[in-house]
Amino acid sequence: MSVTKRNDAGAAPSVSLTDLFDEKSGTISPAIYADPQLYELELERVFSRSWLFIAHETHIPKAGDYLATYMAEDPVIAVRQKDGGVKVFLNQCRHRGMKICRTDGGNAKAFTCTYHGWAYDIGGNLVQVPLEQQSFACLDKKQWGARQARVDSYKGLIFATWNMDAPTLSDYLGDAKSYLDLILDRSEGGTEAIGGIVKWVIPCNWKFAAEQFCSDMYHGATSHMSPMMAASPDTLPGDPTDFSGRQFRASRGGHGTGFFVEGAEWLWRVGQAGEHVSGFDIAAAEQRTNLHRSGKRPVGFSQHMTVFPNFSIFAGANTARVWHPRGPGEIEVWAFGLVDKAASDAEKEQMRLMTLRTFSAAGTWEQDDGENWVEVQRVLRGHEARRTLFNAQMGAGAPRGEDPTFPETITNAFAEEAARGFYAHWQKLMTDVDGSFSKAGSYADAAE
């Protein structure tokens, strides 16, 4: 399927975007992972209108601490301010567009452009211009600060958006918040980031990664069979018959998560693999974590989750990451470890080892995810492959459980209900010509 542009309206493709995902039939057109014009449209309608993850609060604790990161393809700098707030601004000099920060992070007193020397303070305000008196008739420096994004945070996670009309981050996260809490609020004091961000390149579309973390417990038995076998060589995973899990599809916003509940054979296995590599006793940690505080059964360590569009967590390995899009066929993964503040130093060390040994560029689990996505993407070079529909029907029509502990879930962790929610929201954004759908008011509207 090719996407051509209308003659009159600049960015609106003439192909019906509503054909690309069909919730009723549970089908996905693979063009959405490969088409360059759809990708350009995603940058505008998905990424520039959504809240995007920036950093954990503990990445930049002190005034002047900064992290150079990205909002989709746009480089930004996140800086801790003297008043304790965080500013996020475009890493682009207003003179001729040079990066005003060429390093990955640290502590800054100012950002001085290395092209002609314009200097910005840690708030992104233009404060110094070489030869200003001699050569500029009248330069209103206030007008020429770095372009500011809107910033908000939720329980330690800093997000930003270019959409000044977007709902608050809290409203944007909506009913997904209580599932984020399973991770962010599982123990007293919340979470902190382990130092260091692992960055690596996978030649695949960003949605393969984001959708998988949103919805796909299913692939574990096949893709990740080897680390489970390695951890417990005597017992093969076999056919997953224990379905005592849940999958959550956000009623609004495209977020999703899934997890097993207490006693699931799979949870035990994942835990055992982690314990084997790091000595980290997941069962003990799970007993200690404070979801028990809120009366919920332990789920945290099996939980995968995506906050739409491209921020994901896998609690089992204490990992959080952004899938930065780099064209239709490439992503940069930026992953960091997320540990309980209340954990002892020894426990944090065990969690650190578990994270890097399981879900990281060299992780014994994560290695095999990249392999899948790379091959899928390569197949999509084919013209016929791009027009051969994908099946996303798993768990269609499953009734919502009656479980008040886990609202809006179906009682099966092996499903694609959250994936359908992810694509339904993606499609709403992609077909929203004027951006009205992603405005604050429309978030009060009916569920998707």
Partner: protein
Amino acid sequence: MPQNNSLQSATTDIVEMGRTITPALQQEIEQFLYHEAELLDDRKIAEWVDLMADDIHYFMPLRTTRGPRDRNLELSGAHDIAYFDESKASLQLRLRKLQTGTAWAEEPPSRTRHLVTNVRISTTAKADEYEVKSAFLLYRNRSERQTDIFAGERTDGLRRVDMPAGFKIFKRLILLDQATLEANNLSIFF
């Protein structure tokens, strides 16, 4: 590390810490490194893991681009995330993963070529242990045309043992010359 600034010919002994790096020792250690590289490239991973001492620390930190004020933070620290931070047990788990036949990132396996060069040896306070720096170029190709190239430096701790290989590795620090890893995974060893 002690530096010896004079140019050395192949037949000249190098003095480190009062002890001598003879051409014979230089050759012996280089041959050990070539042997090790061959095991990896021949996919004899079990034999390669056997070259690791029981107290091996196999460590590959992250690297970042830093300004002058933060240049000391270029390498991730001991309590930060790393690409690899491995013990003998965790290397053995990685080996068992590869042996399952379902480790899809290496099944079918990659083709690799470990080139090892710039080998510089220092003696240590212990007579049977050496610190060995080397530069590496690691070529990896898999599937049809997926290709990765890694360059970097290794600093190894070698301990002389009574085994045919002659040494065991008890420390390996790997500095990769990349800040963003230009590969979809690290399912191979350095």
